[in-house]
Structure formats: C-alpha cells, structure tokens
Symmetry: C2
Subunit: 576 residues, 2 copies
Amino acid sequence: MSSPTQEVQAPPAMPGRGTERRRPAPMKWWGWGHEGIAFSHDDKPGLRPFLEDALGIDVGRPTRAPAAFDALEIAAPELPASLRAALEAALGAQHVSTDALDRVVHGRGKSLRDLVRHRRGDLGRLPDVVVRPGAEADVEAIMRAALDADAVVIPFGGGTNISGSLEAPEHETRPVISVDLGRLDQVLSIDAASRLAVVQAGVFGPPLEAQLNERGWTLGHFPDSFSHSTLGGWIATRSSGMQSDKYGDVADLTRAVRVVTPNGVLVTRPVPSTSTGPSVREMVLGSEGRLGVITEATVQVHRLPERRTILGYLLPDWPRALAAMQALAVSEATPSVTRVSDAYETRFSLATKKTPTLLDRVTSRALATYLERRRGFDRAAMCLAFVGFEGSEAHVRAQRRLVGRIVARHGGLCVGASPGALYDQKKFDTPYIRDYLLDRGAPADVSETAAPWSALPGLYDTVMGATRGAFAELGVQGYVMCHLSHSYHAGACLYFTFAFRPSPGADALAQYDVVKSAVQQAFVDGGATLSHHHGVGTEHARWLAQDISEPGVAMLRALFGGVDPGANLNPGKIVD
Amino acid sequence: MSSPTQEVQAPPAMPGRGTERRRPAPMKWWGWGHEGIAFSHDDKPGLRPFLEDALGIDVGRPTRAPAAFDALEIAAPELPASLRAALEAALGAQHVSTDALDRVVHGRGKSLRDLVRHRRGDLGRLPDVVVRPGAEADVEAIMRAALDADAVVIPFGGGTNISGSLEAPEHETRPVISVDLGRLDQVLSIDAASRLAVVQAGVFGPPLEAQLNERGWTLGHFPDSFSHSTLGGWIATRSSGMQSDKYGDVADLTRAVRVVTPNGVLVTRPVPSTSTGPSVREMVLGSEGRLGVITEATVQVHRLPERRTILGYLLPDWPRALAAMQALAVSEATPSVTRVSDAYETRFSLATKKTPTLLDRVTSRALATYLERRRGFDRAAMCLAFVGFEGSEAHVRAQRRLVGRIVARHGGLCVGASPGALYDQKKFDTPYIRDYLLDRGAPADVSETAAPWSALPGLYDTVMGATRGAFAELGVQGYVMCHLSHSYHAGACLYFTFAFRPSPGADALAQYDVVKSAVQQAFVDGGATLSHHHGVGTEHARWLAQDISEPGVAMLRALFGGVDPGANLNPGKIVD
C-alpha cells in the first residue's frame, strides 16, 4: 500500500466556495486521486458488516497492494530523434517528457481493467513521449510533427476515462505521443450578455469553476470525475454531470469548439443553433481524439444561483421511485438534480454514514416506526432520492411544493436537507472506493445506460438478473445496485455499480469480464444504449454496432477514415 | 394568372382543432400552396398604400403571370428500361411516374430563385422519374436499383425547401430519381410513458398533428411551411418552428431515425441521451439527402396543453425590444413563443390588418395617445412582440406575470390577446406573399441567421445597412424588415425579409442575387451563421467554409464521400 493516507475530502470548488487556482497534480499511477488520499471505513461503523455480508470480504485487512513503482518493468521509449527534435523545437525541451512516471501515468485511464493491470505492473503499450502544449499553435506543431513522422497522437486531459480511450493499441509500432492539455487551463473571456465563456480545453473542473465563480458564473457541470477531469475530456466523451437536468449535458453546454485536425484548425461559431448541414460541432462531441485535439470551447455559463439546495426523499419501493421520477420529468417542475437509488444502493448509502450521523432523521427509531407502521414502508425496499433546486428564493419555494406533491402522490416523503447535503459533499468520493476494494481483492465497477421511461422497469430487472446470473455462473459472491439519474422528457439514465469477491486462484480480470459483458449485453438487448456518458473507447466498442447499427458504424468509419486517412489519431477507439 | 382564387385560410391543424386525414395535394408547380388559394390585398385597406410607398409598385395591377403549363418545354425523361423495370417491380407501375407535371413539381423547391425560373419556364434539370414508396422496403429497393444503375436519388418531402436542396445538378448525365415520401404518412405508435411517437417521414404537418391530437398529443413543431412540409424534410434541414422555445428545434424533438443508406438501413435507438461516439443521429439531422433517405423517426411528443395563449406586447424601440427578449431568455420564465418585429416589420404587420380590425386596441386613437403622450412612444419606432404561454392555468398565470414584469422593465406593455390570436391564425400565410409580389414584378425573399445575444444589435445594423446598400448599388427601391424569434440562453435567430422593385429591363434574378448575397455575407462577416433553420442546399453553400471553417467542410466531405462514394445521393448539396 501507499504511504499514510488521509480521509477523502470534498473538493473545494463547488459554486460559491473559494478555491485555489494551482494546477492539479497528476493522479496516482495505480489508482484514483492524489497520493495520500484514500477511502476509509474507520469512521463508518455500518460499512464493515455491510461489505462482509455483501461480498464476504473482511475489509479490516487489505490483502493486495499495487506493485512498487521502482519494481515496474518499463520499456524504454522509442522516439525517433527527428521527432523529438521537432517536438522540442516547438514546445521547448521542458515540455517534452520521456520520464518513466509521466509515461506510466499517461499510459491508461482509470477503468477497472486499467487499474488491475497497472497495479500488477502490466503496463501495456506506454506512450513514448508526453508533450505539454501551452498554446493552440503548439498543438498544431505537434500535429504536423506527428503526421510527418507517422506517429500516433493521443490527447490526454485528466486521465479519468474508464472506457479504455487512452491506451495505445497493444502492438502499435509507430511512435506514440500523449498530448497532455493541462497547461491550457484558462478561462479566456466571458461574454456576459450571451452567457458564453471561452475556455481552454485542458482546464480541470475545480479551477474552471473557481475562475468562473470569481466572476459570479458557473458552468454547472459536475460529473463524478469533476476533481480530476477536464473540459476537453468532457467534450471528447459526451460527459454528463449531476446537475445536467438543469444545465444540460456537455453536448448542450458546448456551443462551439476549436480542434486541431490533420486539415487545420476546426473553428465552429458559438451560435445558439444552426442549419449548416450535419453539425460538425456534434461530430467533435464524443470523438475521443479520433478527429483531432480539442484546444478550446465556448461554453454556456449561468449566474451563480441565489439559492441552491438538495433535498432527500424516501420512496416506498423501486417501481414507485421510478414512477415518481418519471412524473417529475414531465411535470412543470424543473429540478437541477433528480436521482434515486434502488433499495440495494440505499442500503449501501446508509451503511456509509458516519458515526455522528447526519442521516439520523432517516434511521432514527421514531422515523423508522413512522415509516413502517403509519406509511407501510418496508425498510428493505425503500429507496432514497435526491432532488436539487436552484434559482431565486421564490422559484425554489414553488419548485419544492411541486416536487413534494408529486413525490407524495407516489407514496414518498421528504426527509429534509441533511441527506442531500451529505450527498452533495461526498459525491466526488465514489471512485476512491474501487481502489479500497481492490486493496481487498474485490473488483468493483460501474456501467451506465439510458433508455426510454417505458423500458426502464424491465431493463432494470434484466440487468440485475444478468449481473446476478454472471455471479452465479462464476460461483462468486457479488453485489449489484443501481440509481436513476439524468432525467429527460423521454427517459433517463440507469447507473449500475457492481462488485464481487473473485474465486480463489481465479484471474480476477477474466471474471470481471464475464460480469461486465453480461451487464453491457443486457443493456443493448433491452433496447438501451451501451453508455449514457462514459463513452465507447475500447471497452464498449464491441457493442457499438448492436447499438447504432452497422450503417451507423459505417458512418463513423467514413468520418474518421476521411479526416485521418493514416489512422494517426487515437487509433482503435470507438471503431477499429 | 391562375384561375379565380380564394383568400388564404389558416390551416386547420393547430392543436385542439379537428382536421381531416386526407393526403395533401401537391403544391402549384409555379408557386406556394394549392391552386386556387392566394394572398389578396382586397380586405386590407392599409396594404396598397404601404406597398406603393415601400416598393413603388401599384399592387392593383398584377403585371406578371407564370407561363401556362401547356406552353412549357419539358425535356423527355431519360430513364433506362432496366431501371424503370426494377422500380416498377419493386413499387408497382402506378407508383413510378414520368408524368410531366409530376416531374415539374418535383424538379425544385420554393426558393425565390426556384419560383422565378419555374414561372419563366426555365425548368432546369428535371428528375427523370418520380417514385412513391409505400414502405421502407420500397425505399431499400429504390436505393439498390439506383446504385445498380448509377442513378441519382433525391428525397422529396413537401417540396417547400428554399435553399436549393431539391434540384439535380444542371449537367447531371445520370438518371435522376425523385423519391416522394408522401405515402409514408402514418403515426405508427405512441409510447405514452416515454412520450415518444414513431412516425413515418413523409407525413405532412397537418395530418401529423391530426393523428397526434386525436390521441391527446402534439409534436409542437410549427415552421412557417407547416401546411406543406413533412417530418422527414424538417429533419433533413434541421428545421425550427414557432413554438421551438418550448418544444425544441427538430434536432431536439427527433430522438431516433431510420434512414436507408447505401450500406443498409441506419437504425438509431430512441434513447434520451447517449455517449456512443459522435452522434450518428445528429449526422442525419441537416443531411439534406446526402446520406440516404429518412423513412421514419421517433419524436418527442407532449400532451396537448390545458391552456394556450399568445399575447401581444409593444416595446418602444428595437434596442429595448432586443433587450427585453434577452432578459426573458435568461429569466425563470419559459414561454412557448418569443418573437418581436422591428419597427419596419411592425409597420408592415399593421398594414396587413383587415378592415374590421382586430388590432383596434393597438391603433386606436386612445391607445396611440396614451403611448405617445404618457409613455413617450415614437410610433415610427415601436416594435410589436408576441409571447406564447402553454401549460396548466396556474403555470400560464405565473408565466404571464413574470413576462409582464420583464417587458415593463424595458418600457413595454401588454396589448392583449387580439394581436397574438391574429398572428397565430395567419402565421402560415406569409409564403403566399412572395407569389403575390412576383405577380407584380417584385422579388421578395427571406434570410435568417442566429448569433449570440451580444452580437445581435450590431448584426442587425450591419445586415440592414448591407441590404439597403445593395438596393442603392442597384438603384432600386426596396424594403427590408426583421424579427427576432427562437430565443435561446446564448442568443437568438434574426429573420430578415426583403423585397424590391427591379430596375426596368434588368434581370430580376441577377439583381436578387446582389441583395441576397449582401445579406448572407453580412451574416457570416458579423459572426453569425449562414442559416438558423433553412439549410445549406446550393443557395448557401458558398458561405459554408466561412461559417464552419475549411476543416469543418473537410469533415462533411469525409462523411458524405465515405458513405456515398459514387455521389449518388443528392449530389452537389451542402458541399460540392
């Protein structure tokens, strides 16, 4: 294990809270977040028994540790002298790195598969060089040098991708350049009348919000990876955030892009809507580096809200929880967050509460008695929901009334602001739990999808069944849970989390593949999409044709092949 | 002139009003709408003096008439026997037409350039055959036959396109097939829970709304062309409608598509959002037939609103009118329509009021006195706005209060429901006015764009100046007016209408080109887009690279070239 750790802290960059402007440090080479920060069960008395019961693991004893960095076998970079010279001439030698740790950190993202292999010292095809452009002209020079040398270009934002979008193909024989956009981290201008900010693509979530908050604005984009991911990465993967119900997915927020392509710098105009043929802006959204390197975007910003609150609600069971969220989505209410956990995730959430509990109201004997005796709740079935409100005092008040009535019609009740405040504070911690479980030998991962409202109840049952079927097939003890988030008029996202204790002596990754494949196959078999906001990468590519049909894949091949005939741009991602 | 005409009637298909289900007849071969329906000034006492003053034409005497159909020189179709046989085998001979009127009606859309040339008998490269598939399998058979014969395929919905998207290239030597989707006119199913309707692409606006209204639903898409355009056409051009502020542009409404492409049937899933690489659904939106033939779409529908109203407002001048619309767009109000005319369009609107005036309140001496003496209005500067409200009684009431306060803060006032009702009733009539003016020798046309709020005041001035500059350069008397519609958080659409009286003996079309080009060039020079919702076609193609940049054009070429290597699909549109 790594050095002494401190408990995860909520990142300091939510709207209205002061934040520092320094450039974020790179993440651990073997896991999530910065060295010295980790998830712990010490102050969560319910978690240990929960995990022992759910996974059959004794969380008290970490049994696995990542390899020591010094013990890693790191292949020497193969960087032609002429290419190095061209890169150094363009960027300065200090921004052209063949440092071993740099190459290892930039070699992959943070998928479960990435973490397991990195921890084992199985590093894959590392980039030969990591370059750090400080301006769009630098990126143009990198692109020219790469194409001249027939090298591979892989853009790198925060490295949080969990779909295998950042790794070079295993047998890539050409030089591989990882382009780290981290120096492009400035909000360049804000057009207050149009509420549009011009922002460099390499900026991380917290410094982006800090720069905007200082001037009274927010982007309102808060994915789970917020602390460690970048604007360019969000755009390249069609990211969504927890307040996307109000602010929109990144596809909505991104009004214009600048992208260094093999044909020059693509520049689209920040117009609110346009009819100029198929949208090239939309082609960049989700392109995962296949069309070029995103250097800048014009994004929709909003004034920091006068009032902001997230309330907790309890629903008696999952069918009524789904129905309540659906009713909200088509009502005249416009909440900023709508999220509801199934009974399994609700139980997990209650198990992670700290000793001096903020969830007292939920679990107190009096409330429990009220729920069970007076409201007929089955505590094993109940579902915890969060609904967020933003805007003027009057707006928030009116919205709360609307939402309260709809939830009540579905047998639910408001349990106040404490659960919401806890959720709001801890929402960026979840990725750390994977490392915590891997330290104890248990793979854990997430798969998310979206489908029309009418398909969600059946889809949920199918996916839960397929996941448990995979556990049974493997003969392993596992746990699967789900929440609904990102509500739209037509449907919503279902977000599944699963973990299991591998069979003794088995290859954990091979067993993980069985479970992950069962989940993904259940998505596409159930009429849902292979991913709502995590992207395709290499992890989901084999389901792409089942989702968008073979002619859809042919359209993507046409686009990528025509723009990048030499397959120099992040080859192998989305489509082979 | 054509046979005796009746006054334009408001189409019968607005939500809540009963409509017939019969298939619409084709439009006049030489103009807008059906034979026997035309615009008239007879019952509009203010219009004749207005047009005499604005354009220097005596509207009492139509001086030009379209050629007689029997006098047209119509080139014989060149349809290889094997291709005809293949088409007839697939569709039945009755759905494979080489009829002269069919070919002339399908030869072009309804751009000003299309109308002038058709009226002159200059028919261009007519299609050799018009086919009418009755099922998606028919379209697949047409595609196979066309590719086997190296023929050109041009999809045809309602034929209302005004960007030159429907005409075959002048010197096309291959057989040209116009695929009229009119038989694909059914709402196939409605998923009430997800509010998604599966609809065939060839359905016209009124029968679509009729089928939805019958079951309590509406699509909420009402472009000016509504009566004569189709769902597939809206998707192929990225259409917007007058209630798009509430319901979204067609890009938002279209949740999934089925498209017959050279590689088979593209089928996307009706998921509310997805992260499957660049969106192939978005590639179909605006594709103008370059990627295949759209056969079906899954669209977002809404319940018919309990309450629906459009109110008129007067603003003292254009700068304050713009500012009021901007304030509305970023407020917590969610109107269904926001539209404001500049002083020139306001004057035109007032000139079209009928004798027993519904606009009495606006123009009454008492109101005029109040506006001028008490409110300091200059009647020559005032701007008429419409704001629409939909939803529950309580919602509409609250929204009206919000909007009223914002308008008042910008010096404006509500003038009640009469102007809004008139607008609502007459809004589909505008295209007829072009024929009316062409009958009197005056070309009239529209150009629309979108830009960020910060750019709109300057853009307006630039475009008005450029248009008047073009009139001056030509030495002609002309008129230009504008309205703002389609408000977004980041900006809005400006919609310009211009007309002029050509110089005696001059080529009206050559003079029109000078004016139209001045307008379009002012758009792209002012940072705006070449079109907000009319598409590119051939009319706007020369400004495309200035709008989306050369690398953007290269991306479109890559996509079209890769999907359609033989350039069989509507060649020459969007990009050459």
